[in-house]
């Protein structure tokens, strides 16, 4: 299964764990331009996008926050909630009308502690998302579309 599908909660978590997680969630919606979270803030929630697009961005003094990556349908939004010190490493903003499942991070972490099997499944899922995004970021660092890729062969 391709990463774009396999990393979605519906596929990444076994059905019994998925159902338990979904029961902790609630449906929310955001208008375009709404800030979901700010870099440096407490990572107390996370979201799975149902519809729309969100942008992850970085605070740079004196300029508009540059967008690091955009996230779409099925994407997990927010990773810092699972790892100490539970502080957002980036900011996030709704680019379009956004609907999502919102989860309370403390409740999910408590459930992970109470049920190690559930905890392992969630950590495995979030870890895979993290690895996929790291790999995508590394790929972009290579500057594939740069001029060195298009030189004339003599």
């Amino acid at each position: 299964m391709p990463p774009s599908i396999a990393l979605r909660m519906n596929h990444a978590l076994p059905v019994e764990h998925r159902e338990r997680l979904v029961r902790l969630g609630r449906e929310v919606s955001f208008a375009p331009g709404t800030r979901l979270f700010e870099e440096g803030g407490h990572a107390g929630r996370f979201w799975i996008i149902r519809n729309g697009t969100a942008a992850l961005d970085m605070y740079v003094p004196g300029r508009r926050p540059p967008v690091i990556e955009t996230l779409g349908v099925g994407d997990l939004t927010g990773l810092s909630w699972l790892y100490e010190p539970f502080v957002w490493q980036l900011g996030a903003e709704a680019l379009t009308p956004l609907s999502a499942h919102e989860f309370d991070a403390v409740a999910v972490r408590l459930m992970c502690l109470e049920d190690p099997e559930f905890g392992r499944a969630v950590e495995h899922w979030v870890g895979r998302v993290l690895a996929h995004r790291l790999n995508a970021a590394r790929t972009r660092l290579v500057d594939l579309y740069g001029i060195h890729e298009a030189k004339e062969v003599r």
């Binding site: 942008a55 099925g74 790929t139 579309y145 298009a150 004339e152």
Partner: protein, 268 residues
């Protein structure tokens, strides 16, 4: 087909990005045979040399055009030509995308950077004969918004889904940011009844083709355009040899079932 460059006049010159232009060409005298989407020409800058360039428009989609990025002596010369100047063309060379095999199926185009240029005539042909195909998806990746070619035209394509993503967004860019494969999750296609056409930097081709195969698109229905050192373009010099394939003859378009094992050999 002639081995001597046939003079063509630049009848229009369209800057695409800071380093890329599209030259619309008409024969000065006798015309070359019609190009098909996916085929390439050896484009000659008199006094400098020649380079292989895929057609970004063919006679059937509005006249012959080549989109050229300035990356060396010959392409610098070609990009600097003005309307009325004459360049040489040999061709058409190579095989085609074979879009006609996708009749009745969904079409998925994945383009990276200037790789959109060879795919443009395929996209225009598919959109022109829209009823012959299922859903048409076009996924485009570029370095920055300013590096997008045919940007205005993209917005007018009546596709099922067109996605554009960039690696480095500029201020004011409200579109997607990230690798082109992330758009696959939003494309609408039935994997087992889809033909995919992929062109761009080779690592992007590998990532896209692998992900398409993992989606369930049959490997022999994923067509990729490979770039090697085309010199004679007639299958004699061997510069474009890619394992058992002479890409100027049986390429540049190769199906993923054949390309994947060859691309895993580093020496090739």
């Amino acid at each position: 087909m002639t081995a001597v460059p046939v003079p063509h006049r630049v009848v229009a010159r369209r800057p695409e990005t800071a380093d890329t232009v599209t030259l619309c060409l008409e024969p000065v005298g006798a015309a070359l045979p019609d190009f098909a989407p996916g085929q390439f020409a050896m484009v000659h800058s008199f006094g400098r040399g020649e380079i292989p360039v895929s057609a970004s428009s063919v006679q059937a989609t509005g006249g012959l055009a080549h989109t050229i990025r300035s990356v060396g002596a010959v392409s610098d010369g070609l990009c600097a030509t003005r309307v009325g100047d004459v360049v040489g063309l040999r061709g058409p060379y190579g095989n085609t995308w074979e879009l006609e095999r996708a009749h009745g199926a969904d079409v998925l185009v994945v383009a990276g950077g200037i790789g959109l240029a060879p795919l443009r005539p395929l996209i225009l042909t598919a959109l022109d004969g829209r009823k012959a195909y299922g859903r048409v998806n076009v996924l485009i990746g570029a370095r920055t918004p300013d590096d997008l070619i045919v940007r205005k035209e993209i917005e007018s394509w009546p596709t099922t889904f067109t996605g554009v993503t960039v690696d480095q967004p500029a201020d004011g860019w409200r579109g997607d940011v990230g690798v082109v494969t992330q758009l696959l999750g939003r494309a609408r296609f039935a994997p087992d009844n889809t033909w995919a056409f992929v062109c761009g930097p080779e690592p992007m081709i590998r990532a896209a083709a692998r992900e398409l195969a993992e989606h369930g698109v049959p490997r022999d229905r994923v067509r990729v355009s490979l770039e090697r050192n085309m010199r004679c373009a007639t299958g004699h010099c061997g510069h474009c040899q890619f394992g058992p394939l002479l890409l100027c003859q049986v390429g540049p378009v190769v199906d993923w079932a054949h390309a994947e094992p060859l691309l895993s050999v580093r020496e090739l």
